[in-house]
């Protein structure tokens, strides 16, 4: 065996395939009964926040997106996801709620596989790090205005934040462009298939006051 180099190449292929089968193919087979939803189908359920976006920013919405209808929402979702990936938001925000560490109390219902079986999750954006909070239950937690202000300069709405500002999502008049509208539409979509979970209702706010010397976030 040590004489023939090809045996190590073959062993490499076999061990790779064995691991790939156990850890990759088997989960695919287990979840094979779930139908993959295309973006156009996903976009048929328009969350109220998207309609609200057209009212909040009527000029920009019409210029960059158009009307409040499923094809427009699909375009907004695609644009938002592209920005989410280009800026690598997923490096600091995860997109799944675990059944441990009180995460269901903080974020909302524990994640289920069928929620991710759609073209919007190609590639999935589970993430492996949380500098900021998880976003899979973000829909409805904050207003569109809050999101716009937060993207423009996070520390204006959360002084402790270490999130970067994204002024290039806005034009010279500081009005939102397609990137801002798309990203807010995307964030307000995340979890919109479940009843909205109110934000910051159960937190121990005094802990933050202690660590910030009394300054309210």
């Amino acid at each position: 065996m040590e004489r023939f180099g090809a045996s190590f190449l073959i062993a490499g292929v076999i061990t790779f395939l064995l691991g790939f089968f156990l850890q990759g193919v088997m989960p695919v087979l287990t979840l094979r009964h779930l139908k993959t939803t295309p973006v156009e189908e996903t976009a048929r359920d328009i969350p109220p926040e998207f309609a609200q976006l057209a009212e909040d920013y009527p000029v920009e919405f019409e210029r960059y997106l158009g009307k409040v209808d499923p094809p427009t929402f699909a375009r907004a979702l695609r644009a938002g996801k592209a920005s989410y990936i280009a800026e690598a938001c997923w490096h600091c925000h995860s997109q799944y709620v675990r059944p441990v560490s009180n995460e269901d109390l903080r974020f909302g219902p524990v994640s289920r596989p069928e929620e991710y079986q759609n073209e919007m999750n190609l590639p999935h954006l589970f993430g492996t790090r949380r500098v900021g909070p998880d976003l899979i239950r973000e829909s409805g937690k904050h207003s569109n205005d809050w999101h716009m202000a937060h993207l423009y300069e996070p520390r204006n709405v959360a002084p402790y934040s270490v999130m970067p500002a994204y002024p290039w999502f806005f034009d010279a008049e500081r009005r939102p462009t397609l990137r801002a509208l798309g990203l807010v539409a995307y964030l307000q979509w995340l979890g919109s298939w479940l009843p909205a979970v109110p934000a910051t209702t159960i937190y121990n706010a005094s802990a933050l006051e202690t660590t910030t010397g009394g300054a309210r976030p």
Partner: protein, 469 residues
């Protein structure tokens, strides 16, 4: 067969080792290492609310982070590994690489890939796959480059007339089979065909296999080559070498899902990943024992030989990483430490503390050969070692502690901002640790340059042992 006994036997038409090609891969490794270091430093300032390029789109912290990790893996580590293999494979097989011309083509192609990757990621074309952020239009080039590299380097191994293949070559050959498969799997399946939860299982496998099936086997292969050569004695136990190799080859590829424990991925895959991970941590200890058995009786070399010192420091950190891993992979630990800076500490300890340190040792050994001159200043190199080690240790301890603070803060349902505010002192210490590491690399880069620009000396460099100052 002991690699130490191998003499440089020049082939009739061309030298055994292409030192020019090796030198340029080392230079490229150092250049992209500098890019990775600067990216990491800049990114760390974001966490101190003092990002130097705030408001500059193409230097946005999220994009710079991709440059930091990708240049560490594909720039620094990959180039240095290629240089190490360009040296080790011909010496072990007594055959030069298949084609020097192909070697240069791969060199230029690989650096082009790296430049396109930096440009693409900063330009907003990064891919949404961890460690696979290389833009989608770069991926085919990477695959072609890897295939060419495998052909160029495996032909001398497959054609060698030596009796029996040495351990190093087992690891290299397995890595050749693994690396391309892993890259294609991770960059294509979750991007185009497998959505959502199952895609996450495959991404987990990619994150894991990139370290386990590309970096680890080539790293150990280089250790099995350089350590006996420098210590001038054979590896302690052939049986342990066998157990270590086949154990790693069997268990390492089946643990990807441990990056997504408690996710919606089916629980049997999660349990399987945990069990396989603990199994491989047991197996790798046979490798570590083998190397410390080899060192037995020659521990003076840790002091006197700087390359050996880098190698064995890396191995101690490897043992720590693996011990840590056997615990942190359990569901109990994952409840608290997942998503926190604990994992960032772990990643730095293994990618830099282990493989980066081994590469430093390889540089110490190969750079004088590459430029045909002895090291200009062993004192600089000793300073490089200590600054790097102290900086890395500080960073690992600091971020591990920060991870516990964050994890318990979240589980205790504090306001999210409380976990951020509580992390800030730790993030400052992380920046300081990074500055120590970078100061060390400053000495290193200066030493490389100062060595290369010395007046030429006699080509016979034996012995090239670097005495620590």
């Amino acid at each position: 067969m002991s690699p130490g006994s191998r003499q440089v036997a020049a082939a009739a038409d061309r030298p055994l080792v292409n030192l020019d090609l090796m030198r340029w891969h080392l230079i490229a490794s150092a250049v992209f290492f500098a890019a990775s270091l600067l990216g990491g430093l800049a990114y760390s300032f974001q966490f101190n609310q003092l990002y130097p390029f705030a408001g500059v789109e193409w230097l946005s912290p999220g994009r710079v982070r991709m440059v930091h990790t990708n240049m560490a893996a594909y720039g620094f580590i990959a180039n240095a590994f290629i240089a190490g293999m360009l040296f080790a494979i011909p010496r072990l097989t007594n055959r030069p690489i298949l084609s020097d011309r192909l070697g240069w083509l791969i060199f230029y192609a690989w650096q082009l890939i790296l430049v396109l990757t930096i440009g693409g990621e900063l330009g907003g074309y990064g891919q949404g796959i961890e460690w696979g952020e290389t833009p989608i239009f770069v991926d085919p080039l990477v695959v072609v480059g890897l295939v060419l590299l495998v052909v160029n380097l495996s032909v001398p191994i497959l054609r060698t007339e030596e009796q029996g293949l040495y351990v190093t070559l087992w690891y290299f050959l397995a890595a050749f089979a693994w690396t391309g498969l892993v890259y294609v799997m991770g960059n294509y399946l979750p991007q185009f065909w497998v959505p959502g939860t199952a895609g996450a299982a495959i991404t987990g496998l990619f994150i894991h296999d990139l370290v386990g099936l590309f970096v680890t086997p080539i790293g150990w292969g280089l250790m099995y080559f350089f350590v006996p050569v420098l210590l001038r004695k054979p590896i302690w136990s052939h049986a342990l070498s066998l157990i270590g190799f086949w154990g790693i080859a069997f268990f390492y590829p089946m643990q990807g899902v441990h990056h997504f424990l408690f996710s919606p991925i089916p629980m049997y895959a999660q349990y399987g990943a945990v069990v396989a991970t603990i199994a491989v941590e047991v197996v790798v200890f046979t490798v570590i024992v083998n190397f410390f058995g080899t060192l037995h009786g020659r521990s003076d070399a840790i002091r006197g030989n700087l390359a050996i010192r880098w190698f064995y420091t890396g191995m101690i950190l490897y043992a720590l990483t693996c011990l840590q891993c056997a615990f942190q992979v359990t569901l109990t630990f994952q409840k608290i430490i997942h998503f926190t800076d604990w994992v960032v500490a772990h990643a730095h300890m293994v990618m830099f503390g282990v493989f980066g340190f081994w590469i430093m040792g390889v540089f110490v050994e190969l750079w004088p050969r590459a430029v045909g001159k002895p090291w200009a200043s062993p004192r600089l190199l000793t300073g490089h070692f200590w600054l790097t080690l102290i900086g890395l240790a500080l960073m690992v301890v600091d971020l591990t502690a920060a991870g516990l603070v964050q994890g318990f803060s979240w589980a205790g349902l504090s306001h999210w901002g409380a976990s951020v505010v509580a992390s800030m002192p730790f993030w400052w210490v992380r920046t300081i640790a990074g500055l120590l590491i970078i100061a060390g690399q400053g000495l290193f880069f200066y030493a490389l340059w100062a060595t290369a620009r010395q007046p030429a000396v006699a080509p016979d460099l034996h012995p090239i042992t670097v005495e620590a100052a």
